[in-house]
């Protein structure tokens, strides 16, 4: 069996950044395994612009952003294999994959970085009532059909869910000549970035209905023909008498993304409420030598942060391969009041570096302090005028503040009006 120091599973933004970082830190025996026919992952179909403002201080389209990393991978001669689908990994870090060239291959890795991205919740996942018919597809699928293959998925379209891909697709489908009738969101607030509401909906006078969801779908000759949208109450139950019937041929779903971690599930790797693995500050999972980053750890909204997280995993894996014992003892990081989750979920001791915590709030909230406590000791308090669930929050805490007597860390929100 071939021995490889670092196998990176997934050649998207996270995986490429991880491989490049590990290479730059002296790990030369690396292999990136990518199931698709190109490197770059989901950015291949994200042809809109707005990527790279943090990373390159300029605004790039998805394919331009990914190309900069593909160029680096090629310049550094980092080995990668396309059309290579990893079917399993085990706790001893044997990676099994099917290769177009070599058939079924097993390699022995010293460390593995899982960067497999996320998948979309679909019609089954949200149990849409009514007929089972053609014409109901996820936003990402519609995006791939249109941007990569050139097929328009419909002519009269309703979009359910106001996540960013749904908003981006509302604009894109409109520009290609489809009529996007409305976007409907079950929550009382939008789940997309404000800029996307502005430039994708407002620019084209596409209405956004809040607290409204699909209560029925009807088909004719096997194809969707009518969608009923109803208002929902606080418990997300449909309110009778609020039905809006809309004739359309396509319902696009932009109703959430879930980390894709089946490889980790097979080996019983502990997961958290993010539906990704539990990791420490090196992005090492509870299984020694297995790291994870990007959208399969927790779903991001900005690719620049995915790239950065890839580097963190690449660094962690490099330290591990070069002999650092990363996980002796650890302390926990807990989400408190108002906080949905925090990554990393634990901190390995001793603490050698500043630590960046990433989290999301549970609901939109104004005038709060973000409070970080080490046991009962206050270590950081940051004033925020507004926080929304669709924007990941990142805070950096200096190692000096954590090194003395580290105990479990809590991050919570505190209302500023109540003192």
């Amino acid at each position: 069996m071939e021995r490889i120091d670092l196998v990176v599973i997934g050649g998207g933004s996270a995986g490429m950044a991880a491989a490049i970082e590990a290479h730059n830190r002296g790990v030369k025996n690396v292999l990136i395994l990518e199931k698709d026919g190109n490197l770059g992952g989901i950015l291949n179909q994200c042809i809109h612009n707005g990527f790279g403002l943090t990373e390159f201080k300029e605004e790039l389209t998805g394919p331009e952003y990914l190309q900069r990393f593909v160029d680096q991978v090629k310049e550094l001669h980092i080995p990668y294999e396309l059309n290579a689908y990893v079917s399993s990994i085990d706790r001893n870090k044997v990676v099994t994959y099917s290769s177009k060239k070599k058939g079924l291959v097993k390699v022995q890795a010293k460390a593995i970085i899982i960067a497999t991205g996320c998948y979309e919740r679909n019609a089954g996942a949200i149990q849409i009532p009514g007929d089972r018919c053609a014409g109901i597809i996820t936003a990402g699928t519609a995006q791939k059909y249109l941007n990569i293959h050139g097929y328009l998925c419909g002519k009269r379209i309703v979009i359910l869910g106001s996540g960013d891909i749904g908003l981006i697709m509302a604009r894109r489908l409109t520009l290609e000549g489809a009529k996007v009738i409305c976007v409907s969101e079950i929550m009382p607030y939008s789940n997309g970035l404000n800029r996307n509401i502005a430039q994708c909906l407002n620019d084209f006078n596409i209405p956004l209905y809040l607290s409204r969801s699909v209560s029925n779908v009807k088909s004719k000759d096997g194809r969707l023909c009518k969608v009923t949208l109803s208002q929902v109450d606080e418990k997300f139950q449909f309110i009778k008498g609020t039905e809006m019937e809309i004739e359309c041929d396509t319902l696009i779903l932009s109703v959430g993304l879930i980390p894709y971690i089946s490889l980790l599930e097979y080996i019983d790797c502990p997961t958290s409420t993010t539906k990704g693995a539990i990791v420490d500050q090196y992005l090492q999972t509870d299984i020694e030598g297995i790291f994870t980053c990007g959208n399969c750890l927790h779903v991001h909204d900005v690719v620049d942060f995915v790239t950065n997280e890839g580097r963190e995993a690449g660094r962690g894996a490099a330290l591990y391969i070069q002999g650092d014992k990363l996980n002796n003892k650890s302390i926990l990081v807990k989400p408190g009041e108002g906080v949905n989750y925090v990554v990393p979920q634990k901190i390995a001791l001793p603490i050698n570096d500043d630590i960046s915590f990433k989290f999301r709030v549970k609901k939109p909230i104004k005038d709060v302090n973000i409070v970080v406590k080490n046991g009962d000791n206050l270590i950081s308090k940051i004033v925020k005028p507004v926080l929304i669930p669709s924007e990941m929050v990142m805070i950096n805490v200096k190692k000096e503040k954590l090194m003395d007597n580290p105990q479990d860390i809590t991050i919570y929100l505190e209302n500023r009006n109540n003192g």
């Binding site: 612009n49 389209t61 293959h149 290609e176 800029r195 430039q199």
Partner: protein
């Protein structure tokens, strides 16, 4: 009269406020100020799309305008883009159509196709 709108320059999405004397507030960075003034005087948008690759089956290549185009001309720009095609190989930055609508703006490829 004050105008309020969301900045679309970056994912931050600042809530901008512009008064009648064109004073901009609410912007985190200078780009927000420039955007606010442009939005009230000559609103522009980048247009991205994809065009057919002649010598590849079932494959498009992505393109963009080299600069933001006036908002009211987006549909005209889309018609031009939809009339274009290109032969592989093609490269990031390759110009497929120069100076569209006399705007001094080109249609540029944004993806590598070998």
């Amino acid at each position: 009269m004050d105008r309020e709108f969301v900045c679309i320059v970056c994912p931050r999405g600042c809530q901008l406020k512009v008064d009648s004397a064109m004073n901009v507030t609410g912007n985190f960075c200078p780009r927000g100020k420039a955007y606010a003034i442009s939005e009230l005087t000559n609103p522009t948008r980048m247009v991205t799309s994809s065009i057919r690759v002649n010598n590849r089956d079932d494959l498009l290549v992505s393109v963009k305008t080299s600069n933001a185009v006036p908002k009211e001309q987006i549909n005209e720009v889309m018609s031009i883009i939809n009339s274009l095609s290109v032969s592989a190989p093609c490269h990031v930055g390759q110009v497929v159509k120069k100076n569209i609508l006399n705007l001094n703006i080109d249609i540029v490829i944004t993806k590598e196709i070998e």
